[in-house]
Subunit: 188 residues, 2 copies
DNA sequence: AAATGCGCTTGACAAAAATCAAGAATTTTC
DNA sequence: GAAAATTCTTGATTTTTGTCAAGCGCATTT
């Protein structure tokens, strides 16, 4: 599985440490439409996506908003819940059958004590996530719907094969109709 | 100064540790329009804003985009540079005369080794920042320019006294004219 | 006090995007 | 493989937002 490689990339760990970490991740499968976690509930797991796609979403008064789509190589959890034990802010649902590797919060917390460099690598991982969010916000501020689509399409061709366009539209901050029209225009 | 309180909020530290950390922050003043750091350069400092306002911005081909405005109580740095030693992604400029408390990267890195709980608190701090970015993105996806204005105005009345509206407009992802019209409408 | 610069507002117009509604295409279910 | 359900597309229209341009208000300078 690729979790090992992924962790190695984040984390120049000793083999021993790496194996100790890996041993706490349990393989798990979800079927299409199954929820990984739901708004308001606790999320006491942290998972690596080995295969399949998930969407991160919640409801506003008027509609459902998909905030992110995650595929192979991404980690999923609800940070508010996993780190701060607050209620989930997001629901996370499988959009396809999926295989993930999951670690329990209780095991995860032990890493901090048992593995000296864990917290440092975790901080670096969080910092990267933060920087990606900065970039994403910058794109919302500074680019049009069409530019956002083009960029996302270039970097996520696989998603378009597997995930309904309406969810992609939401992630890009536009209506499904607008996405459809942009695609028609770009493909002409 | 309030840095102590701020750190205490983030970090349930021993008095000793807290004092050791505080001792590495040096008071510094900047005049209006002075740069804290600039795109492409390194940023090897991390600072707490004691007073004054800063904007975080960069240039696109066509225009300058202000991504964030930070006032008292915020920390500023360029993470890409400060954590990963990459070139700055942002310029940070004082919008008013300002007083900050600054720690050098070299001192900051020692905290990791000298203060056992530092990395954990740092991780939690980063996680909070990440969650705030998630919320901000959610607002871009799910609300109109007017709603974004209303929310920002309610929570940042002070900023409107001190910072040119054009920069606030950019942070909110709208043109200065649109912000002006929304304000005219809301005040009527 | 006139001149300058800067930021803000306003109007007119254009462009982008949302909404509503209908129908086509695709996928799922039985 | 037919029916049902879901997803996608397209057209017509409205709303929202951006752009361009002019002018105002205000502070600063000279």
């Amino acid at each position: 599985m690729d979790l090992k490689l992924q962790l190695l990339g984040l984390f120049s760990a000793e083999q021993d440490d790496l194996n100790r970490i890996l041993s706490k991740f349990q393989k798990q499968t979800l079927v299409k439409n199954q929820f990984y976690t739901q708004v308001g509930k606790p999320c006491q797991t942290f998972s690596y996506i080995e295969s399949g796609y998930f969407r991160v979403f919640c409801h506003t008064e008027s509609r459902e908003v998909t905030q992110w789509i995650a595929g192979k190589g991404y980690f999923i959890t609800d940070l508010a819940s996993f780190i701060f034990n607050q209620p989930n802010r997001w629901s996370i649902q499988a959009l396809t059958d999926a295989t993930i590797y999951t670690v329990q919060q209780s095991d995860y917390q032990l890493f901090e004590q048992e593995i000296p460099s864990w917290s440092i690598m975790e901080k670096r991982f969080m910092a990267k996530c933060f920087m990606q969010m900065e970039s994403r916000i910058f794109k919302f501020i500074s680019t049009s719907a069409e530019e956002r689509y083009q960029e996302y399409f270039e970097n996520n061709k696989d998603v378009f094969q597997q995930v309904p366009l309406q969810y992609i539209a939401s992630v890009l901050g536009m209506s499904a109709e607008t996405l459809s029209r942009i695609r028609a225009k770009v493909n002409s």
